[in-house]
């Protein structure tokens, strides 16, 4: 196929962004390792860890952007897929504790409290790291496939889809809270000791996890870029803009939507799996209705349909969250609420719009001056 100018340009752009992303996290990593501890440029282990957490969120935000920004599907249940990935990883980490828990039992501690005799059957395969890694992608993917198949097939779309996914988030949250699910109940999974034999308390392990998150983020970005720049991406945008017309043109909109939904669920699962070992705990509170809708605002703030904006939004909003909840805990919800309202009312394209408006402001000023001179 003949390469036209726009393709070459978009490829260049993709590479540029990917390199920029890479260099950002590599610089962060170097700031953690190279300078002496009292240097101005030194990044503490804690801060590096936090940055890793934000990057995991950014992977999730990429999935949301693909789904919402490009295809126009607003899912208020991304927290579920994040949670599924996180719990898959958490289960593996729980099992790798082995007999080192508080009760010296082969079973995870919470099962000892719940007086379980043996490991539930669905826990058993998570002993294997390879299986767990596959599950991290495929469990959320499969779940999204089944749910998406049912909903897209019956053409549930727009706000209906949002409401149904929110109800799903609520029910999954309720389920994960149940002790009888054998997933740790309200307390979730925690007290992890090691991953693949490396202690999670060590700074070097955390650094490796940071690198893994960074690599995954760049790969996820490349994947999303690949999808959106391909013909498939054009169909997705067309679905967003006019689904009826794309159907009449002979495309099966529901299949495209299902594909994107599964991809975004898998990305959310990967994000969850990277999040757990870095943060050290996963509870139902992190995957319910409120966190799910909060994830939407990351993308809204960053600017939907831009991919890079989703990453910036995820990092930015979470940074603001950490800052506010530790310094002004009462203000955080006001800020978040105002963010929702403000973005929707004044900046539908997020931060991109802010920069565009600033540009426009300057150019208008120039024009005005030009007009006067004329």
């Amino acid at each position: 196929m003949k390469k036209d100018k726009t393709t070459t340009k978009s490829r260049k752009e993709t590479l540029l962004w990917a390199l920029l992303l890479c260099s950002v996290w590599i610089v962060l990593l170097l700031m953690n390792t190279l300078p002496p501890k009292d240097s101005f440029f030194y990044l503490t282990d804690f801060n590096l860890n936090t940055a890793g957490k934000y990057m995991a969120y950014a992977i999730l935000a990429l999935g949301i952007d693909l789904l919402w920004g490009y295809t126009g599907i607003l899912s208020l249940g991304q927290g579920i897929f994040f949670g599924l990935g996180a719990y898959c990883m958490g289960m593996h980490l729980m099992l790798s504790i082995g007999g080192e828990g508080a009760y010296q039992s082969e079973l995870p501690d919470f099962m000892v409290w719940n007086q379980l005799e043996a490991l539930p059957f669905f826990w058993k395969p998570f002993d294997s790291f390879v299986f767990s890694m596959l599950a991290v992608v495929f469990v959320p993917g499969f779940f999204a496939f089944v749910f998406g198949f049912l909903t897209f097939r019956s053409r549930i779309k727009g706000v209906y889809f949002s409401i149904i996914t929110q109800a799903l988030a609520l029910t999954v949250w309720l389920l994960f809270n149940q002790n009888t699910m054998n997933l740790g109940g309200t307390n979730g999974l925690t007290d992890f000791k090691s991953i693949l034999g490396f202690s999670l308390g060590e700074a070097s392990t955390q650094r490796m996890l940071f690198v893994a998150t960074g690599v995954c983020l760049v790969l996820a970005f490349l994947l999303c870029r690949y999808i959106t720049e391909s013909r498939l991406g054009k169909v997705l945008i067309a679905i967003r803009d006019n689904e009826g017309r794309i159907r009449f043109s002979g495309y099966s909109a529901s299949q495209y939507k299902l594909f994107v939904f599964v991809i975004s669920a898998a990305l959310a699962g990967i994000a969850g799996a990277l999040y757990v070992p870095q943060v050290g705990i996963i509870t139902p509170g992190q995957i319910g209705v409120l966190p799910s809708i909060e994830m939407i605002v990351w993308v809204a703030v960053g600017g939907r349909g831009t991919l890079i904006g989703a990453i910036l939004g995820a990092v930015g909003v979470n940074w603001a969250r950490s800052f506010l909840t530790s310094n002004y805990p009462d203000l955080w919800l006001y800020f978040l609420g105002a963010l929702f309202v403000g973005v929707v009312l004044y900046f539908p394209k997020g931060m991109w719009e802010v920069s565009a408006r600033i540009k426009a402001l300057f150019s208008r000023r120039f024009k005005k001056q030009g007009f006067v001179e004329h």
Binding site: T151, Q166, F340, L345
Partner: protein, 573 residues
Amino acid sequence: MLRTIRVGIALVLPALIVTVFYVQKIAAQAFPRMSTAASMDQLILTLAEEERDLVEKAVFDLGNLGDAKLLPTLEALREGSLYLWIKSDGTRRVVIGRESIVRDEVSGFLVLKAYGADPISGSDGAPLFLPEERLESIRISRRLRIKITPLLNRLRLFSPEAVIRESAATKVGLSGNHEALPLLSKALAKEKDRWVRFALTEAIGLVRLRDADPAVRKAAAETLGQIHAMDSVPTLEARIEVDASGVSEETDIAVKAAVTEAIQKIKAWEVWTRTVETIFSGISLSSILLLVALGLAITFGLMGVINMAHGELMMLGAYTTYIIQEFFVAYLPANIRDFYFILAIPFAFAVSALFGYCLEKSIIKKLYGRPLETLLATWGISLILQQAVRQVFGAANVDVASPAWLSGGLRLAVGIQFPFNRIFIIFLSLFAVGSVYFLVLRSPIGLKIRAVTQNRSMSACMGIATERVDALTFALGAGLAGMAGAALTLIGNVGPDLGQNYIVDSFLVVVTGGVGKIAGTVGAAFGIGGLNKLLEPGFGAIYAKVLILLIVILFLQKRPSGLFPDKGRSIDL
């Protein structure tokens, strides 16, 4: 000599006994009141004696008199607020000293009569004040204190309040003490209230179940079965339960059969009552869902606005109710305090409607035709409202007391009781649906609302002030939310996250019912509410919820646009 003595004794003793008997009887007939009054005062005075056996006997005698006026006496004795007052002339009197006060720098009590707890008036007519040093506290042993409790229940059988009589009867019956039988029969003979009579009959049956005579036991078991005495099932089962050595408490075969039959009868009745209760609680939950979802159906169905702050508008209504209650408590006399709720409902409607109006004018107005955006913006508003309420009223739940006229319930039969507050909510939601129906489908403003919904620009051309109609419609939806919030104070906690608990469920109702269809909303509310209560006993609350979500998703496969879709060829492109 010995013989004469024997004969003498044989003749004199019966004569003596007969004489004493008759004298006593005549005396009792001649001065009936005086004698009981005298013995009552005597008994009460005995409570102050040193000798423990005497005191204990007096306590039991008092308890078995079956006089409700003795209740305060024994209660005071148990609490240690019974005092012996030795007057200046040396006479002794037992009084109750409950309120400790200080007068002229002397601490003491305003004393009450031991019998009936009426205030004793002093020489000047005012309540008598006695300094502490003139009173001698009557103390009893721990052992006796424990023994008084069942006696109190026996006295409560004669309380003027039916609720107290009923619970006392149940307690006395469950204790199964044979000594209480005469009192129970006496109470039953006087009793007029249906449910107290029931409780007394049950109690007598339970006591007689331990009678020495098998025939009495059999009759008791039969009675219990006949009246469907549900509380007596454990006792009945215990009678025929076989222990490790293969022996049951009940030995008589005929009685055993009667007990078994009674248990079966009661159990069959229980199944029946449980069915009725399930149906009722299904209807109750449905009406709550309907009340909550109705406002949502208006904002979503008619205006296409996803109002995620709907739950918080409900919360505003609930807090308005709280404020009005506090106002009544602080500024109005106690006897009309209970009517705060009647005022609270319109107020809650008004406050939420006003807030909704402002919300529409400031934010929603700019977002018509962009439902996903309204969803996000209203979610943001809900977060702000929650946090604001949390900071003003505190994060903990506030206390909203249900008015007394809505406490209790309508009892239709044994074991079937419909709480008044639930009935009230059912009627309120019916009223709300009815008014919305008339407002939207039968009134001039409703005509305008529907016109704007169907074709905004055409309506504007026809001279309808579409912006005003929008704002008023949104205010109506918000007001309904406020009203629902006020109603919810009757059955749930009032806290900053009140709205969050209902929002997802109510949206599910609206989606299932179909957009813009009041009939659909009603149908979906009853479908989801009923299904919820139907599944709950078998699967537990959480799994029932999961199942309902699955059912809704599968239902939407069949009917993607709800219960009652529009017939037509329109398609949203």
